[in-house]
Symmetry: none
Subunit: 208 residues, 2 copies
DNA sequence: TTAATATGTAGTAGTTTTACTACAAAAGTT
DNA sequence: AACTTTTGTAGTAAAACTACTACATATTAA
């Protein structure tokens, strides 16, 4: 009788997920939690086999949450269930100790699938992620954290861009030509595969 | 036998919502749509009494969506179901022709409540919104948060800017002149007292 | 130890964005 | 009703930014 804990701050999502699990997994016993605190409390009351964790909860420092949980419950299987893009965020969570990453955009079938896979003791990767994995395998470079691929000057300039500085301001501050800063900016965007500062910031937040 | 259409791009949410409605409303017949296109198609096939519409769908130009729907189906009741903060965005959608605004953070009870209220032909306001309404009534301008000072068009454009859209892209999407969008952007910045998108985003986050 | 990349820097020409101005229609005030 | 402010819209000139190119110096890989 698998014990599952569904964590999400939106009750509709918990409700839907719970029902899906109950209908598709024999004898599943599903509990719910709406916050990180509740989650820890619940986890300490009884043994859970699977934790389905929404990571875009307010107040949750996503990465640390995982660490804390892993520390106290080394055996629990963790499935990250997020509305963030899996291609961008998936890896990070897998690396950080999750056993699977599932985008909220995926359908019900995929949820069942992921849950069953994890309960079987395997890791779960969405089809898209598997594909990316293959690419990275041949392609070593892309596999490392993209922010670490920035040179220190680039990183430096990225920091200023994140603060909202304009290209001109940065050039002024660093006594460079505007065109130089612009080139850096372009290279940064290329390396991070983003096309504007906003995406850049999102990417950075994820990897830090 | 009320006909309800649930629109959301996340299948779990649709699933949960549908079940909630079916269980709480006698004889409810609930259909689902995952995109704006599907929504319009569905709406034209038969008569719906209530539309529960998720507004943070990718590609959905929120306000225009409402307009289009209202134009073709003047009688349908529309409940906006969003993960945006209701205090900031709620009244705006009401003004734009919705009959109710519900935050996804609210619980199942509130969903039932809202749906039933709308089906009865009344408008629905969450308790929080009612409160805000009262405050604004006595309190007019002074204490309101800067984001509420934006007109709905401005708000609309802000939304797109937050997503990282460029001025040109927005102009294209909304069929406006670039200069027009630029003017909006300038006015938004003025009202929020910021000087770039990054600060703007910070401000929005502050107030939500 | 070559050969291949990556990095730091910039010019030029072309795009995009902003500033400033404007104006009619709507909303709000007196 | 008359007056003021806000909103939705745009043109034009100026400012900011990007693309593409370039090149010398480091680094890295073969």
């Amino acid at each position: 009788m698998p014990n599952i804990l569904v964590v999400d701050d939106q009750e509709v999502v918990r409700y839907g997920t719970t029902l899906i699990l109950q209908k598709s997994i024999e004898d599943a016993h599903v509990s719910e939690a709406a916050s990180f605190e509740d989650t820890l409390k619940m986890l300490s009351t009884k043994k859970f086999d699977l934790l389905i964790l929404d990571i875009d909860m307010p107040g949750g420092n996503n990465h640390q949450m995982l660490d804390v949980i892993r520390l106290r419950h080394p055996d629990i299987r963790i499935l990250i269930f997020s509305s963030y893009d899996e291609q961008i965020f998936g890896w990070r969570y897998l690396e950080a100790g999750a056993d699977g990453f599932l985008s909220k955009k995926t359908g019900i079938e995929e949820i069942k699938n992921a849950a069953k896979t994890l309960l079987r003791g395997e890791k779960y990767l969405s089809p898209t992620l598997k594909q990316t994995l293959l690419n990275n395998f041949t392609n070593k470079k892309a596999a490392t954290n993209p922010i670490q691929r920035l040179s220190s000057r680039e990183n430096n300039i990225m920091q200023l861009l994140i603060k909202g500085s304009s290209v001109a301001e940065i050039a002024e501050k660093l006594s460079l030509q505007i065109s130089t800063v612009s080139t850096y900016k372009k290279r940064i965007f290329e390396k991070l595969q983003v096309s504007n500062v906003i995406e850049m910031i999102e990417k950075v937040q994820l990897y830090s």
